[in-house]
C-alpha cells in the first residue's frame, strides 16, 4: 500500500513538474552511461532533483537516488515520506558536529548496491547572483573511494525563476536540463584540480544569459 502511494506520488510530482516547466533534456554527444554513475548538478531550487529525475529515461531513473540533507527531509512525517519513500533519497547529515553516520560511506554503499546518485556539490541552494558556488569536497572524497564511477555534469536552467526562495506559487517557465559527457577522476589528480575541472565542466553546459545577442 505504502509503495503504491509512493509510486503514485512520484508520478504526480513528475507530471506536475512537466506541466509547469515543459522541461526538455539536452543529451550529451556520447549518450548517458548505462552503468550506475553520479549526476552532479547546480542547485538553486528544492525542485532541482525532481527535474533531473523527470527527464531521465525510465530505466536510468529507477536507478537514480538523489542525495539530500537529512535535516531538511526528516523534519516532518510528510517530508520524510516524500524523501525516503517517494524519491528514495540518500539522506545525509550536513552538520559535521551532529553526524551519526559518515555521508561518504552512505553514498558509496548506495553506489555499491547498483544505484546512481543525483548530487548537488555546492552543498546548499545557490541564492546568490553567481552562476555557481564553489564545490564542497564531498564529490572528491566520493570518487577517491570509488575512482571507477563515472561523473555526469547536469545543468538545470531556469528553475530558480519558476519558484524563487520564499514563494509558494510556481510560475510556469520553460526549463532545460543539459547533460554533459561522463568524466572520471584522473590518476594523481589532487582535490583542488579535480573540483576545479568539475566546476568548469558544469559551467560549460550553462546557456548564455538572455538578451546578449547571437
Amino acid at each position: 500500500m505504502k509503495i503504491m502511494i509512493a509510486e503514485f506520488a512520484a508520478a504526480a510530482f513528475v507530471l506536475f513538474a512537466r506541466a509547469i516547466t515543459a522541461v526538455r533534456a539536452i543529451w550529451p554527444e556520447h549518450g548517458l552511461p548505462s552503468r550506475p554513475c553520479v549526476y552532479f548538478a547546480n542547485h538553486s531550487s528544492h525542485g532541482d532533483f525532481v527535474l533531473v529525475w523527470a527527464v531521465l529515461p525510465p530505466r536510468l531513473r529507477k536507478l537514480a537516488r538523489p542525495v539530500a540533507g537529512a535535516e531538511y527531509w526528516l523534519k516532518s512525517k510528510i517530508s520524510t515520506f516524500i524523501g525516503r519513500d517517494v524519491f528514495n533519497a540518500v539522506l545525509i547529515e550536513r552538520e559535521r558536529e551532529k553526524r551519526t553516520q559518515d555521508p561518504i560511506a552512505l553514498m558509496t554503499s548506495a553506489i555499491d548496491d547498483g544505484s546512481s546518485l543525483i548530487l548537488f556539490p555546492e552543498g546548499t541552494r545557490n541564492l546568490t547572483d553567481a552562476r555557481l558556488l564553489p564545490f564542497k569536497s564531498g564529490l572528491f572524497h566520493l570518487v577517491s573511494a570509488r575512482p571507477d564511477v563515472e561523473l555526469v555534469p547536469v545543468w538545470i536552467n531556469n528553475l530558480n525563476r519558476v519558484m524563487p526562495k520564499g514563494e509558494i506559487v510556481p510560475i510556469p517557465l520553460i526549463c532545460t536540463v543539459t547533460f554533459g559527457d561522463a568524466m572520471r577522476i584522473m590518476a594523481n589528480e589532487d582535490k583542488d584540480a579535480f573540483l576545479e575541472r568539475m566546476q568548469s565542466a558544469l559551467l560549460a553546459l550553462a546557456p548564455k544569459p538572455l538578451g546578449t545577442g547571437e
Binding site: 515543459a22 510556469p172 517557465l173 520553460i174 538572455l210 538578451g211
Partner: protein, 316 residues
C-alpha cells in the same frame, strides 16, 4: 447532419488530402536526397509535416467537441505561448505575483468571459484592468530596477499570448444573420488562410526565392516567397468563400488582409527573437520550434479579422 458539420467534414477531408500529398512528397524527397545520410532540410520538412498531422487532428477534435473544445484548445495555446514568452523576458523576483496572476488569474478570466459571452468586458479586460493592475502588483515590492521595461514586457506578453490569441475563439460569439451555428467555420477559414499563407511563402521561397526581404529579421523570407504566398493564399481564401458568410470577392479581400497581417506579425515576432538572442521560441512542436513560432501570424491577424467581421457582418 446539418450543413455546418457536413461543410466541416468536407473541409477536414480536403485538409487530409493535402497532408497525404505533402507526406507523399516528403517521402519521395527522403528517398531521393536523404536515403544514404541525413539531409537537414528534408528531415526538417518531414518533421514539420508530421507535426501538421498532429495539429490538424487536435484542432479537428476541438471542433468536434464544440465550443468547450475550442475554448480549451485556445486557452491551452495561450498558456503555452505565455510560458514561452515569459521565459524569454527580463523578470525579477518582485514580479513574481504579477506573473503568477498573469497565468492563474488573467488568463482563466479572459477565457471565462468568452465562455459567458460577455463581449463588453472581454474586449477591455486585458487592455484596461490587467494593464493597470499588473504594475500595481509589481510596484508593491518596491523594486525599481528596470521597472518600466519589466511591466511593459509583461503587458506585451499578455496582449500577444492571451488577448490576441483569445480573438480566435471569440469568432464563435459573433452572430451573423444567415450564418447561425456555422461560426466554427470562421475559425477554420482564418486558421487555414494564415497557415497556408505561411506554408506557401515557405514553398514559393524554397522554389524561386532569390531576393531577401528582411535580411536582418528573418534570413529565410524572400520577396518571391512573400508575393507568391500572399497571392496564392488570397486566391485560396476566395475559393473558400463557401464556408464563410462572405462573397468570393469579400473572402479574397479578407484573406489578403489576413495574410499581410500574418506576414508582418511574423516579422515582429522574429525581431523579438533576435533581440533576445534565440532562434526559436521553444521546442513544443517538432520541426517548427515553439508554439509562438507557429502562432505568430495568427496572433496578429486574429483580432483584425475579428473586428472587421464584427463591424461589417455581425449584429452583436
Amino acid at each position: 447532419m446539418n450543413t455546418a458539420s457536413s461543410d466541416l467534414l468536407t473541409l477536414v477531408l480536403g485538409i487530409f488530402g493535402v497532408l497525404i500529398l505533402a507526406s507523399a512528397i516528403g517521402y519521395v524527397l527522403q528517398r531521393r536526397f536523404a536515403a544514404t545520410g541525413p539531409n537537414a532540410a528534408v528531415d526538417n520538412l518531414n518533421a514539420r509535416i508530421k507535426a501538421w498531422w498532429v495539429m490538424v487532428i487536435l484542432i479537428g477534435i476541438a471542433f468536434i467537441a464544440g465550443r468547450v473544445g475550442v475554448l480549451i484548445l485556445f486557452a491551452f495555446c495561450s498558456f503555452a505561448a505565455l510560458r514561452e514568452f515569459i521565459t524569454l523576458i527580463n523578470t525579477r523576483r518582485a514580479d513574481h505575483w504579477a506573473l503568477a496572476s498573469a497565468f492563474f488569474i488573467v488568463l482563466p478570466i479572459q477565457y471565462y468571459l468568452l465562455w459567458t459571452k460577455q463581449y463588453g468586458i472581454f474586449a477591455i479586460f486585458i487592455p484596461v484592468y490587467a494593464f493597470l493592475l499588473m504594475p500595481i502588483i509589481s510596484v508593491l515590492r518596491g523594486d525599481t530596477e528596470r521597472f518600466l521595461l519589466r511591466i511593459a514586457e509583461v503587458q506585451w506578453a499578455l496582449m500577444i499570448c492571451v488577448f490576441c490569441v483569445s480573438h480566435v475563439p471569440a469568432l464563435l460569439t459573433l452572430s451573423i444573420p444567415g450564418y447561425e451555428g456555422r461560426n466554427v467555420l470562421l475559425i477554420a477559414f482564418l486558421v487555414i488562410v494564415v497557415q497556408l499563407s505561411d506554408v506557401l511563402q515557405y514553398v514559393w521561397g524554397k522554389l524561386f526565392g532569390r531576393t531577401k526581404i528582411a535580411p536582418n529579421l528573418s534570413p529565410s523570407k524572400t520577396v518571391e516567397g512573400f508575393v507568391g504566398g500572399v497571392i496564392s493564399a488570397t486566391l485560396i481564401g476566395a475559393s473558400l468563400s463557401w464556408i464563410t458568410p462572405f462573397t468570393p470577392f469579400q473572402a479574397g479581400v479578407l484573406a489578403f488582409i489576413i495574410t499581410l497581417m500574418g506576414f508582418f506579425g511574423g516579422l515582429v515576432m522574429s525581431a523579438i527573437k533576435r533581440d533576445r538572442g534565440v532562434k526559436d521560441w521553444g521546442n513544443l512542436i517538432e520541426g517548427h520550434g515553439g508554439l509562438i513560432d507557429r502562432l505568430d501570424s495568427v496572433v496578429f491577424s486574429a483580432p483584425i479579422f475579428f473586428h472587421i467581421v464584427r463591424y461589417w457582418w455581425s449584429l452583436s
